[in-house]
Symmetry: C2
Subunit: 155 residues, 2 copies
C-alpha cells in the first residue's frame, strides 16, 4: 500500500501541514517500508536521498505527523520509538527471538468498545510477543537435525 505522491500531499494538506520535500520523503519511506521503522532508520536512508537531511528534521517531522494523526507512534518495549503510516486498526507481533515487528490482525480490534469502565477509548495498541513463524520453522529444522545427537547444554 505504498502511497502516491498525490495521496501523500493530500493527506498532509488535509491536516494543514505544508508538503515540503522532507516531509514527503518521510511519508514515502513510511508507506513503503512496513517494518515500523525507527527515526534512526528513516534518517539513515533519507540522508542518501537528500544529503542535507538532518536528524532534527526527522524528529520534527515524525512528531508533527503524529500529532496531526497522519502516522502512529507505536508502544513497544524497546527504547526506540517506532512509527507506521498504516492507520487501520491492527495489532503488532514482536518476535522475542529475531526481533521482527510485524502487523497482526486482531479480530477483537475491529469492534473495540468505545467506552470501557467509564474511560473513553480513542485507540487500542496491541503488542503480542512470542516466537514468529520463521523462527519456529528454524527451530523445528534444527531439532530435526539434532535428533539423536548430543543436546546443546542449557548454557
Amino acid at each position: 500500500m505504498e502511497l502516491s505522491l498525490q495521496e501523500i500531499c493530500d493527506a498532509l494538506e488535509r491536516v494543514g501541514i505544508r508538503p515540503t520535500q522532507q516531509r514527503i520523503e518521510v511519508m514515502k519511506y513510511l508507506s513503503r517500508h512496513r517494518v515500523h521503522p525507527t527515526a534512526e532508520m528513516i534518517y539513515a536512508e533519507l540522508k542518501a536521498v537528500i544529503p542535507t537531511f538532518s536528524k532534527t528534521t526527522v524528529y520534527n517531522t515524525l512528531k508533527l505527523l503524529e500529532e496531526k494523526g497522519v502516522i502512529l507512534a507505536l508502544a513497544t518495549d524497546e527504547d526506540q520509538i517506532r512509527y507506521e503510516a498504516n492507520l487501520n486498526p491492527h495489532g503488532h507481533f514482536k518476535c522475542v527471538r529475531c526481533g521482527v515487528l510485524n502487523d497482526l490482525k486482531i479480530p477483537a480490534l475491529d469492534s473495540p468498545g468505545r467506552e470501557v469502565e467509564g474511560n473513553l477509548v480513542l485507540e487500542y495498541q496491541v503488542l503480542a510477543k512470542g516466537v514468529c513463524r520463521q523462527c519456529r520453522m528454524a527451530d523445528a529444522q534444527s531439532r530435526a537435525e539434532n535428533r539423536g545427537k548430543n543436546r546443546r547444554p542449557k548454557s
Copy 2:
C-alpha cells in the same frame, strides 16, 4: 494485593534470586503501588527507606526481576519503562489528558489465541489510549460552568 514479606521471598527464591533487602524493597514497592511506577519513582521513594540505595541497583534489580519473569515491563509510548508486579493478564489504559496509567480488564485477553497467523504468542500487551473517567467528569463540569460564557479560543 500487597504481597507479604514471606510471599516476596518465596517468589524470589523460586526463580533463584537471593532475597536481599534492596530487592525485597523493590518488590514491596511494586506490589503496593499499582500505578506502574518507573525506575525513577521507585528510586525516589526507596532512597528514603535505605539512604544508600543507588539508582544502579534499582535498574539492576528491575532488569533481573523482569528477566526471571517475576515482574513485567510495560510497553508504553513514553520514554520511560514502567513496571508492575501484577502478572495476571490484563490491559492498560493511558489517559492522554492527565497521563495516568491504569489497569484495564480486557475480556478478550482471558482466552488469547495461543497461535496466531503461524506465530506462537507468549504474551499480549494491550494499551488503550483515551480520556479517563476523572478527566471526562472534569470536562463535563467545566462545560457546564462555561455554558453561555465565551468559549476559550482553540489556541
